[in-house]
């Protein structure tokens, strides 16, 4: 009896916590998705007024690195964040198979974010706040997945 009650006390919170981690990942991915969508549309309209008074922002958004083979770099961000959001929702609903994929995707996004930070800091010598926000979201996602326990 005692062992049974112990079993019940232990396992459900662990499960709840694991799905909660994926819900947090999904919410952060949504923020990244909104940011990347905004940047993509701003790029397509050719409007660097989104930069406001941030110095150097137009330099980043107007640079050769703002597109990859004619596709706005931010559009890849939209795809990545949307895929991540989908994977996180599925993971939260107990689809355990997507979890490995989710980790791999965040790892890839982490590397991409580092590369874009490098470009801004050392090649363009200019920063764009929306790009920095996206990088921050990716670092946050990586941090969440590394720090919080989730069944893999």
């Amino acid at each position: 009896m005692a062992s049974k009650s112990k079993h019940f006390a232990d396992s459900p919170p662990a499960r709840v916590r694991s799905s909660a981690v994926y819900w947090i990942v999904a919410v952060v991915a949504l923020l990244g998705l909104a940011d990347a969508t905004f940047l993509t549309v701003a790029h397509l309209t050719g409007d660097d007024a989104v930069c406001g008074s941030f110095a150097g922002c137009s330099t980043v958004l107007g640079s050769a690195y703002a597109t990859i083979k004619g596709i706005p770099t931010a559009a890849f961000g939209v795809m990545a964040y949307f895929t991540l959001f989908s994977a996180a929702v599925l993971a939260a609903f107990g689809y355990t198979r997507v979890r490995k994929f989710l980790f791999a995707l965040v790892a890839a996004m982490f590397i991409a974010a580092l590369y874009f930070l490098y470009l801004q800091a050392f090649v363009l010598h200019a920063f764009c706040p929306f790009c920095l926000f996206s990088a921050a979201m990716t670092f946050l996602l990586a941090g969440i997945l590394v720090a919080l326990p989730a069944d893999r």
Partner: protein, 239 residues
């Protein structure tokens, strides 16, 4: 009763199975919807080219800011932006070099002109307003050319506006409208907005040139410009 309960359980189980996909689809639709709406709001000022919205616009199809003074294809591998003052002599020289280069790199180069009238030039602001007023009638580049070609004529005049009106007439503008637009507050606001963005990008003098967003600091002779353009084109060729 048992069957109804079983049906209900089955229904709730199947709902649970579909729920994640429902959420994902909803977010997907919401993203596409808000992107399209945001795009429409951003481009509402554009003189709507027929066709209407359909599918995701590619950069080449996307309507442009009607007050962005740009020549050359939107997806050109090299974009040269110049912050210019119509009364600055070196701007007139470099503008000629740029014209030549654009002919030479036809289809590969896009030129964007930004207003940056300097206070030290007494007619620079008036000239910028004249160019913007011409832009309202879709003839920015024609006025741009006239202003630089006859710079030495109007720069020293007491009333430069007299010359500007004659240029407006010769390039076929509606002069009455041109005169009204030249003093319109929104036209002036556009010049100031252009220059303000310039300030935020670190522009201090004219001409200031950006090639693919990177400020050119090597000087503005045709050879130096060409070398930078070649360098900008080179990695694209190999990739």
């Amino acid at each position: 009763v048992i069957r109804v309960a079983a049906d209900a359980r089955e229904f709730s189980a199947s709902m649970k199975r579909f729920l994640p996909f429902l959420i994902i689809s909803a977010v997907g639709l919401l993203t596409i919807g808000s992107a399209v709406e945001f795009y429409r709001v951003k481009t509402r000022l554009a003189p709507a080219p027929a066709g209407g919205p359909g599918g995701t616009p590619t950069p080449a199809e996307a309507p442009e800011d009607p007050f962005l003074h740009a020549r050359g294809p939107r997806n050109a591998p090299v974009t040269l932006e110049i912050y210019g003052d119509f009364q600055c002599p070196s701007c007139a020289l470099v503008s000629q070099a740029i014209d030549d280069l654009q002919k030479q790199y036809e289809g590969k180069m896009r030129i964007i002109f930004h207003e940056y009238p300097l206070e030290m030039h007494k007619h620079a602001m008036e000239a910028a307003l004249a160019a913007e007023a011409a832009a309202v009638q879709g003839k920015f580049w024609e006025m741009h050319e006239m202003l630089y070609r006859y710079q030495s004529v109007w720069a020293e005049a007491t009333t430069a506006n007299f010359f500007f009106e004659s240029y407006a007439e010769s390039i076929g503008l509606d002069v009455a409208r041109f005169r009204a637009d030249r003093t319109a507050p929104d036209v002036r606001a556009r010049v100031i907005a252009d220059a303000t963005v310039g300030n935020s990008r670190g522009v201090k003098n004219t001409p200031t040139i950006f090639i693919n967003g990177i400020e050119l600091r090597t000087g503005f002779t045709k050879d130096k410009l060409q070398a930078t353009i070649e360098a900008a084109l080179a990695p694209k060729k190999t990739s």
